[in-house]
């Protein structure tokens, strides 16, 4: 017996961060919560990320148990929490989960981290036939969306856009040397993004050498005073600059001689400062590419527009998966009737063969085997079409009616009693 699928949860769409953090479930407690919610016969999965906490449950009294769990987590009164909660059931809950796994419900459409979080939640869950099916399908839908659309390919922040541009110029960033100018948070964030893609933070230049040394130590690079930054342009591949200087830190006249000896090796300047640090004229030098904060924001806006466009394709994929889930759920209405019908037919066949045992005794082993086979084939052929029709009816939402009719016509309900 399978229960309804229920989802109770809250996310960035409905709840501010103050509320989301109250209902967030620490990773190490997710499994215990799922087990508690599932109880002896139910099923439960807890998906908790920085943007959402959702409880997927199946079994008796599932919705009430899930709401009670969220109330307990939040420590709020019911009337305080209720406006932030959404409740979805069966196909709607499945569609929601598929959209979540595909990154369509994320703050940044198509972000890739959520698929791993859904997988972790599933692995830590107390699953049975319903949640096992819906989560497996969600993971499949998430992978399919990423494989068949470009929704997750483009960067969604200025620092990741800078890293993506560096990859567009240099390809593999392993061995690419970065010169960071300015030791503030903005430079650090951009540098970290490049570092995570394999680049080497070779130098950190700053007006205060102590601050440069601190950042350089974290990245394993060399600290430089600001006036020595130009000297390293001959060796650097990417320059990330974000200082609070009111004037340009890098001027064309200083940079031109330094890049002349690079023999066509490209040099990417990422200027994240306002006011700008890098003289725009540097972008005109051969093999120099300059992106300031406006350029990067335009790239991000453009790629986000692309993500939204890809989102339409992704929506079609998850809708298809939701339809498959609906058909599977509907088929559950007729499966017991089909199983009973086949069992009844098999029972009659074996009983009739037993009755005829006296006459069949004279048959050879081969002939006996042929009779077995022919009678089994007759039963299968007779039941094939009703089985197919019942499954089709189930998909069209008439499954229960057909199942009842079959039970009545073949006297299956009397057997059940």
């Amino acid at each position: 017996m399978t229960g309804d699928l229920i989802l109770v949860g809250t996310s960035h769409h409905r709840a501010p961060v103050e509320l989301r953090e109250r209902v967030a479930v620490p990773r190490e407690e997710i499994e215990a919560l799922a087990q508690t919610l599932a109880g002896a016969e139910g099923e439960a999965v807890c998906l908790s990320t920085c943007n959402r906490t959702e409880l997927y449950v199946a079994g008796a009294d599932a919705e009430r148990r899930a709401e009670a769990a969220l109330l307990e987590l939040s420590g709020l009164r019911e009337d305080e929490l209720a406006p932030a909660l959404y409740r979805l059931r069966d196909e709607a809950a499945a569609l929601h989960l598929f959209r979540v796994a595909a990154g369509l419900d994320s703050l940044v459409p198509g972000e890739g981290e959520i698929l791993g979080q859904v997988r972790s939640a599933y692995e830590a869950g107390a699953t049975g036939s319903v949640l096992d099916r819906v989560f497996r399908q969600a993971l499949y839908a998430g992978k399919k969306v990423r494989a068949q659309t470009a929704i997750g390919e483009s960067p969604a922040s200025v620092s990741s856009a800078a890293a993506a541009l560096a990859q567009q110029v240099f390809g593999e960033l392993r061995g690419t040397r970065i010169l960071v100018i300015g030791a503030g948070k903005v430079s650090e964030l951009a540098a970290r993004n490049l570092l995570s893609r394999g680049a080497e933070i070779a130098w950190v230049a700053n007006r205060s050498v102590d601050a440069a040394a601190e950042l350089a130590r974290r990245f394993g690079g060399e600290a430089l005073p600001l006036d020595r930054a130009v000297g390293e342009l001959r060796n650097a591949d990417v320059v990330v600059s974000s200082t609070s200087s009111p004037d340009f830190v890098l001027l064309r006249d200083e940079v031109e001689p330094a890049v002349a000896g690079r023999k066509g090796r490209p040099l990417l300047f990422v200027d994240l400062a306002v006011p700008r640090d890098v003289d725009p004229e540097i972008g005109r030098l051969p093999d120099c590419y300059l992106y300031d904060i406006d350029d990067l924001e335009a790239v991000v806006a453009e790629t986000l527009a692309g993500r939204r466009q890809e989102g339409k394709l992704a929506e079609a994929i998850v809708a298809e998966e939701a339809e498959r889930f609906r058909e599977w759920r509907a088929s559950l209405d007729v499966v017991p009737a089909i199983a009973s019908l086949r069992a009844r037919a098999e029972e009659i066949r074996t009983a009739e063969l037993a009755k005829a045992e006296g006459r069949l005794g004279r048959l050879t082993e081969g002939e006996r085997h042929a009779v077995e086979s022919v009678t089994a084939q007759i039963v299968n052929k007779l039941l094939h079409l009703p089985t197919v029709r019942m499954k089709q009816a189930a998909a069209a939402a008439d499954g229960v009616v057909y199942a009842e009719a079959v039970r009545h016509l073949f006297g299956l309900e009397e057997e059940q009693r």
Binding site: A147, Q148, A150, S154, L165, G283, V299
Partner: protein, 262 residues
Amino acid sequence: MVELLFWPALIAYGEAAVAFVGASRRPALAGRLGTWGIRIGWLAQTALLAAQAARADGFPWASWAGSLNLFVWLVVSGYLIWGCRARYRLLGLGVAPLAFALLALARVGGGTGIGSESHYSNLFLVLHVGLVLAAFAGFTLAAGLAGLYLWQERRLKSRSASVLRTSVPSLATLDELGGRLIAVALPALTLGIGVGFLRLRSNGGGIDALMAVTIVTWLVYGAFLVLRYGAGWRGRRAAYLALVGFALVLAVRLGLPVTHFS
């Protein structure tokens, strides 16, 4: 039989060309359709070439149109080595229409049927025509990569907001791949020209205009390799030089029917 194999190849290359055009709107689906079109076209054309080889008495691609047929196959073969990756689909936008147009042209010239017997020896034709065509196929692909490099480089330089929307290999990859293709193709051209000269010497003939242009082509690509690996030429300058070399390749291909097959 040979006729039957020509049409699937042409249709598949045509389908790939249309699909690659559509890849700007639906990159995933159209890109896959394009890639499969190229693959199926290549398989059909491979079967076509095999059937031609089996039924011909000698080297079946000795005519201008026949050599065009073989040239298309070599270009597509080279492309398929790495072109099936999503990032190279824009190159497919150049290769698929080129394959479609040149294969159609080869058919119009009678190069997709059973080849006529040539008065040249098979060994000479295999070495001379085969090697020169293989080198030209490499130069063609290198020119495609150079074109793609210049297009993407211009977009990066102009700080186009859509620079990351189209999936293209990095500048470094395009530059490196183009250089390697030329480094492989030039020795093939050298050998092909060498075989041609040996035959010219034994038969006692003079150098015609086409041979002169071929030698200039060889010099340009030779200079490319010297400048690239000796003087560190990279990027735009290398791409422009690859395109200059390709212009000479085109001149040789177009001049072929006037000189060698007249």
